[in-house]
């Protein structure tokens, strides 16, 4: 039933027209074809000319300008980036140089101080040595003196002791005896 109704809807117009003339199918009618071709040629031609001469050049120009601008901006960014990198490198170089210089100065100062210290130490050592030597000499001489005194005292004591015994002894004998006893 539905299908019949649909078919009737479809057929209705044609049926209606079929009463007097055969149903014309507009796309296959020939009378309007020259006019369709004529206006198609004119309108398509106008559209083509407008597009190719005016609108597309304008659009492509805009797109090109934009891509140029983007490219140049990117270029500039890259250049600035390079400059920044260079500056950073220069800075790092200078920092390194400064560090080297500081180290050198410190090394030099240390070396100088070391040398001064060594010289001073050597000088003081030498003085001390000299003083020690002098002192040793003096000690030695004092000892000799002292030993002489001891001998003298011993001889005198021995003389006195021997005298008590009523014996007299010559000085050389006494000295000989003392020396033997001391050794």
């Amino acid at each position: 039933m539905l299908i019949a109704l649909l078919a009737e809807t479809a057929a209705h117009g044609s049926e209606h027209l079929a009463e007097d003339t055969p149903p014309p199918f507009p796309p296959f009618e020939t009378w309007h074809m020259p006019s369709q071709l004529f206006w198609l040629a004119i309108l398509f031609g106008i559209l083509y000319l407008t597009m190719s001469r005016v609108i597309l050049p304008k659009l492509s120009d805009t797109l090109e300008k934009r891509s140029d601008r983007i490219a140049s901006d990117l270029d500039q960014a890259a250049r600035l980036n390079d400059q920044a990198t260079e500056a950073q490198q220069a800075l790092e170089l200078r920092i390194a140089q400064a560090k080297n210089k500081a180290r050198e100065t410190a090394d030099k100062a240390r070396a100088k101080m070391d040398a001064e210290m060594a010289a001073e130490t050597a000088r003081v050592d030498a003085e001390i040595e000299k003083k020690l030597d002098a002192a040793d000499e003096r000690i030695a001489s004092l000892r000799v003196e002292a030993m002489k005194n001891v001998e003298q005292i011993a001889i005198e004591t021995a003389d006195t002791i021997v005298g008590r015994f009523g014996v007299s002894a010559s000085k050389s004998e006494l000295k000989k005896a003392v020396t033997a006893a001391l050794e």
Binding site: G13, H16, E29, H32, M51
Partner: protein, 256 residues
């Protein structure tokens, strides 16, 4: 029994009828300005107006309209580049014009009571012939007689050519036919279907009684078909344009 409204409003073929708006006769040839010409002119005017306004400022940061025009530009340019290669861009203005001419014509056709210029075989046929003439003309201009290699793809053993060459020739000359018929038939059939379902819904309501229950379904079908036809309108313009690019590619590289 006439359940329906006046026959003109329901006749699905009536929408394709060409009527004269202005009589114009040159040397006995009827070149009248018809409703078909009028709606074609409307499409061209709208295309030029849209792109004219969108492209006029040429801003570095595009407005929405300019963005849309640039997307259209990029879309067609990619289509040409993809199908016909970098040299194919020589025909970019032509393909661009063709695509937007068909696109606007098809879309205007989707407006109720508007005339669909692409639903006439004479229009699609003329455009298809224009395309194939350009392919043949440019093919011979660029390649000379080497263009005929198009019909004899290299690399086949020679007995195959006896069958292959006629097939290639037939397929080449079938191109304008299929190109024009595809667009014409899609537009024609789609609009007939739209009219039919819309008329069917109205008819069911007019029939009254239990039919009214079914009417919304017919109407919903009409709405769904409208969406489908909108897709078809865009798609067929695209198909026509991309096939043009594919055929142009043959003019550049006839030896496959």
């Amino acid at each position: 029994m006439n359940l329906f409204m006046p026959s003109v409003a329901l006749d699905p073929i009536h929408q394709f009828k060409v009527t004269k708006w202005l009589d114009f006769n040159v040397g006995g040839i009827d070149l009248s300005f018809t409703n078909a010409s009028g709606f074609m002119a409307l499409g061209v005017i709208l295309t030029i107006a849209f792109f004219g306004v969108a492209a006029s400022k040429g801003q570095l940061v595009p407005s929405r309209l300019q963005s849309l025009a640039e997307i259209g530009y990029g879309f067609v340019a990619d289509m040409v580049r993809g199908a016909a290669g970098e040299e194919g861009l020589k025909f970019f203005p032509f393909v661009f014009t063709l695509f937007f001419f068909l696109f606007f014509a098809n879309m205007i056709g989707m407006v109720p009571y508007a005339f669909t210029t692409t639903s006439h075989i004479i229009v699609t046929g003329a455009l298809a012939l224009l395309v194939i003439s350009i392919v043949i003309g440019f093919g011979f201009y660029k390649n000379g007689f080497k263009f005929l290699k198009l019909f004899a793809p290299s690399g086949a053993p020679w007995p195959i050519y006896i069958i292959l060459i006629p097939i290639e020739i037939i397929s080449f000359f079938a191109r304008p036919l299929t190109l024009s018929l595809r667009l014409f038939a899609n537009m024609l059939a789609g609009h007939i279907m739209l009219k039919l379902f819309a008329g069917f819904a109205v008819g069911l309501i007019a029939a009254g009684g239990a039919y009214i229950i079914i009417a919304p379904f017919a109407f919903a079908m009409g709405v769904a078909l409208n969406a489908l036809e909108l897709l078809v309108a865009g798609l067929q313009a695209y198909v026509f344009a991309i096939l043009t690019c594919v055929y142009l590619n043959d003019a550049f590289h006839p030896a496959h």
